[in-house]
């Protein structure tokens, strides 16, 4: 007997808002979180913009002990911890516990440790001063640093996993948490992902010539998914977190329910049939979307809204084509589709979780957030789907079912089907 899984808590550290009230206001009003980064100009990067959260480091002391705070350097961990603990509090639960919470686990995604923080480690070791590194480096260098901090703070005693699947990480984490509850292994899973694009990771993307470079003077216009003048993505940082619970378990404690996770799929195109390290195999993408629908018991015709991956690269039109082929819907029959990246850039490992938080909020509050910077939709896209499917203003509308997908380097795909809780 499989279980129903609902979302009972949300937390977010987004370039355009930290905390749910601020984030909700931003996505309803199309507020951009893209900023000019003077440091990137000094470093001779071609793109000098980033979606960077207005994160106040000192506020971490409200979440963790002074001892833990002292020596915490990993920005990725700080973002993830903040989003996860906010989601936990939002679901109406206390942080403190003496006994481990055996019924609750965690799947939280991460890409790499904060290289800027690790630079200090490299310098010391090269100076033959390894002895001076202290006890706090390993726990922050390890990829599971973020889940270790989260699960330790909350005493989570079920499965604790750090997943990593490039840009598909966030939606994959939520899917893994969902599956674990659905099959009865846990009652509750804290899921999400985090990303801090430090200058070294940023520089490597810059060198690939995949970043936006024509809008350095106009940061808020630089992230332009589906636009004819899109010229690459803007890297973003942040974290998103969702508390998932078995329905009966949530009802028993009178938890508020934002939405239901109906199902999903995660696969790979195998880097075959046109799929490569950096490009998606369309057959894999289409299979992933169709498997997600099948696992949810939902027909393609029931999708009201697609929260796309849509990064503002030349892959956008291909993505639209894949959605259209997977759903067998086009023209005016195509669902509404939006890309949060137009406001916050591409938050890489955190993209899927921040965008899923946005998707859940759109279901809970029955609206569709705008695509900003879409005055000039790419004709390759509007040849396939109606321009009416591309909202540029917030729409108030009945939203029952949302498909949320992300596609990552390594030709990996993840798709979630989220629904209004009935």
């Amino acid at each position: 007997m499989t279980k129903r899984v609902v979302v009972t808590g949300l937390g977010v550290v987004s370039p355009n808002g930290i905390g749910i009230p601020s984030f909700l206001h931003a996505i309803k009003n199309g507020i951009s979180g893209i900023k000019f980064m003077p440091r990137y100009e000094e470093l001779n990067f071609s793109c000098r913009l980033a979606g960077m959260p207005d994160f106040e480091w000192e506020k971490l002391i409200n979440y963790i002990s002074e001892v833990t705070f002292h020596g915490l350097k990993g920005t990725n961990i700080a973002y993830g911890l903040t989003a996860a603990l906010d989601a936990w509090a939002d679901s109406g639960m206390d942080y403190e516990t003496d006994e481990p919470r055996w019924e609750t686990g965690c799947v939280f995604g991460n890409s790499i440790a904060d290289t800027e923080a690790m630079k200090n480690v490299i310098i010391r070791v090269d100076n033959k001063e390894a002895k001076k590194l202290g006890s706090r480096v390993v726990e922050q260098a390890m990829n599971s640093g973020v889940t270790s901090y989260i699960s330790g703070r909350l005493g989570l005693g079920n499965k604790v996993i750090t997943n990593s699947a490039a840009c598909a990480t966030g939606s994959q984490a939520i899917l893994m948490g969902y599956e674990y509850i659905k099959h009865g292994y846990a009652k509750r899973m804290l899921t999400g992902s985090t990303e801090h694009v430090d200058t070294y990771v940023y520089g490597a993307f810059d060198s690939m010539r995949v970043l936006s470079r024509k809008f350095n003077e106009h940061p808020e216009q630089a992230s332009r998914p589906m636009s004819l003048t899109a010229g690459g993505f803007v890297p973003g940082s942040g974290a998103g977190a969702l508390v998932l619970e078995e329905l009966d378990f949530a009802l028993a404690r009178n938890a508020k329910i934002y939405a239901e996770v109906l199902g999903g799929s995660s696969n790979s195109g195998g880097q075959r049939q046109g799929g490569t390290m950096t490009a998606a195999n369309s057959t894999g993408v289409i299979r992933c979307i169709r498997e997600a629908l099948a696992s949810s018991g939902v027909n393609a015709g029931q999708i009201d809204l697609i929260s796309g991956h849509l990064t503002a690269t030349n892959a956008d039109s291909k993505e639209i084509q894949n959605w259209s082929d997977a759903l067998k819907r086009s023209g005016n029959d195509f669902p509404l589709i939006n890309s949060l990246k137009s406001m916050i850039g591409h938050c890489l490992s955190a993209a899927g979780s921040i965008e899923s938080v946005a998707a859940v909020l759109q279901i809970a509050q029955q609206f569709v957030h705008p695509n900003i910077n879409l005055e000039d939709p790419d004709p390759e896209i509007t040849n396939r789907i109606s321009v009416n499917c591309l909202p540029v203003d917030m729409i108030k509308k009945e939203i029952n079912i949302v498909a949320k997908a992300n596609f990552g380097f390594g030709d990996v795909n993840s798709c979630l089907i989220l629904s209004k809780y009935n």
Binding site: S65, E66, G71, K132, G134, S135
Partner: protein, 89 residues
């Protein structure tokens, strides 16, 4: 440096690693770092590194093993400070 001077300085070294500030203000030679101050054993190396930097001394592995309570920490630091003064002469 007298034992009292070192003790007062040590309170500052311990401060980031214990949440029990009240007990910290009352520590004496017998206060155990892990049992009484509830310092995480992994953080003992950080305390040693901070003490090395503060007093500009080097605390070797054997000396570090002795730093279990406040009294033994003071003993080790005094000993290392004296060695340093001898070397300077």
């Amino acid at each position: 440096m007298t034992r009292t001077e070192i003790l007062n300085e040590l309170k500052k070294v311990f401060a980031p690693y214990t949440t029990n500030k009240e007990l910290l203000s009352k520590i004496n030679d017998d206060t155990d770092l892990i049992r009484d101050l509830k310092i995480n054993s992994a953080n003992l190396v950080d305390i040693i590194i901070d003490a090395e930097n503060k007093y500009n001394i080097e605390i070797d592995f054997d000396a570090a093993d002795k730093m279990i309570n406040v009294g033994s920490c003071i003993d080790v630091i005094r000993e290392k400070l004296e060695q340093k003064n001898v070397e300077y002469r």
